[in-house]
């Protein structure tokens, strides 16, 4: 029993980073409610190509919710109206027949629009490069059980590590703050003995880079946690605050 719906799409179009951009309205018909949001976008683009129009540029890669490439601010929420999913895992059954769907790119000074719905998220890579790693001395591989780690710590580190770096936290935050992303990347290392060695320098370097790149500050609205497709907790932000303040006060 396959259902189909017709939709009006209000899509942000922008020719390039310098272009002012505008909304354009398109109609798509007979969209299966079993298709994903990105498949619906593919259908729209095929339609546009047949009409000799420029297809809509949007980011996507694995389409199974783990790569963090897809974005899209759909009907006022990052990754659309479903909870704990990325846009590629969002299904058209979440929309009503005849509905108007507004599709916008992530909005942040640190994420400039490249074209249409694609934004430049290399700012995240720059933050990681500033300290989101563990320096490892070369040599033989250490035994897996040489450093015992409590289960609770391992679980919390794993939860933090589930961040896929999609940028929904920045898109959801009224301040375009990257604090949830940075705190997840700091926590996944800070909770483990291997990461503690460089913990102080890491927190300082990553926050300095975050500020430099033009992300806003955290005002604890908690929107990031709600919209995060992986449910990364804001308790990571408290940990980052703690680490950063400890690092600064011990200077």
């Amino acid at each position: 029993m396959e259902n189909t719906i017709n939709l009006t799409l209000k899509v942000w179009r922008q020719n390039g980073p310098k272009d002012k951009g505008r909304f354009e309205t398109y109609k798509v018909e007979n969209i299966s409610t079993d298709s994903s949001f990105l498949e619906m976008m593919d259908i729209l683009n095929e339609q546009l190509i047949k009409e000799n129009k420029e297809p809509v540029a949007f980011d996507h890669d694995c389409r199974e919710g783990i790569c963090g490439m897809c974005s899209l601010y759909i009907n006022g929420r990052p990754h659309g109206p479903d909870d704990d999913v990325t846009t590629c895992q969002l299904h058209m059954r979440k929309f009503k027949d005849g509905e108007t769907v507004t599709i916008e790119p992530w909005r942040a000074a640190a994420f400039p629009v490249i074209k249409d719905l694609m934004v430049d998220r290399t700012a995240f890579d720059k933050i990681i490069a500033a300290g989101g790693y563990v320096s490892v001395s070369t040599g033989g591989v250490p035994d897996a059980n040489a450093i015992p780690i409590p289960k609770v710590d391992a679980d919390e580190a794993m939860d933090a590590a589930s961040c896929i770096g999609c940028g929904a936290c920045v898109a959801a935050c009224k301040n375009s703050s990257a604090m949830l992303f940075v705190s997840a990347k700091v926590s996944q290392l800070a909770l483990l003995p291997q990461g503690r060695v460089e913990a102080k320098a890491r927190a300082k370097a990553m926050i300095a880079k975050m500020d430099e790149l033009g992300f806003g500050g955290c005002t604890n609205t908690g929107a990031c946690e709600v919209e995060c497709p992986k449910g990364v907790s804001i308790t990571n932000i408290a940990r980052l605050n703690r680490q950063y303040l400890a690092a600064r006060f011990s200077e």
């Binding site: 942000w12 929420r77 507004t102 009224k174 609205t221 907790s233 940990r239 605050n241």
Partner: protein, 224 residues
């Protein structure tokens, strides 16, 4: 420590510490104010007010308190400006209410409204008390300001001011409802267990403060 005061977490730290300090002041202020309810002759409140006015510790803390207000207000604008600049192009359609509370997104607006209230409050009570001109009263052989007459007089004479003070209490309550746990989160004193506890304590604290301050004009409004 060179750029600590301009770093995002550094700025938030200033907001948090000044906010926690102002919350302590609010507790003391509320405690003394509630004396208004328990003695309609005014003796109890006058004794409380006189204790606060003559206590050397309070004298020392008064300029610190003023500084706390100034810092909290100035930094709020610095932070808001920085955060505003982080999103030059806004969304056409935003469903922010799904993921966060109105108060948490509008702390600057709530704070600004509390500031408007504060200015009115200072003109009505703080300045008359400090510049003298209040009638004196004798309690147990000690001469002191009849602060009770000033406060009770205002609330008994004006329904409008009673309502404004009730609104002021409510605004402060909404501000603290987010501000309390947020202050602890910012200085890192939160984790998976304490986050929920602090949010709950914050809500209770906000309700106690809002109801506590609002009940005073309400008392005068109903009883007199």
């Amino acid at each position: 420590m060179s750029n600590f005061l301009t770093a995002s977490i550094g700025r938030k730290f200033i907001m948090s510490i000044s906010g926690l300090f102002l919350m302590m002041f609010i507790c003391v202020h509320l405690g003394v104010n509630l004396l208004l309810l328990f003695d309609d002759s005014g003796e109890l409140f006058n004794l409380g007010a006189n204790f606060m006015a003559t206590n050397p510790l309070i004298k020392v803390m008064e300029p610190v308190l003023g500084l706390g207000f100034v810092v909290h207000i100035i930094w709020s604008f610095l932070i808001s400006l920085q955060n505003y600049k982080a999103r030059p192009v806004g969304y056409d359609k935003s469903n922010a209410a799904y993921s966060s509370t109105w108060a948490s997104r509008n702390m600057l607006v709530l704070g600004a409204l509390v500031l408007v209230f504060l200015v009115m409050h200072i003109i009505q009570f703080f300045i008359p008390v400090k510049t003298g001109g209040l009638e004196a009263t004798m309690i147990d052989g000690v001469e002191m300001h009849n602060t009770y007459a000033l406060v009770a007089g205002l609330f008994k004479s004006s329904v409008l001011y009673c309502i404004l003070y009730i609104i002021g209490g409510a605004l402060l309550g909404f501000h603290l409802g987010h501000g309390f746990w947020s202050a602890f989160q910012t200085i890192g004193m939160s984790n998976q267990y304490w986050l929920k506890r602090l949010q709950c304590i914050g809500k209770i604290f906000a309700i106690v403060v809002a109801v506590g301050f609002a009940i005073i004009p309400l008392y005068f409004l109903i009883k007199f």
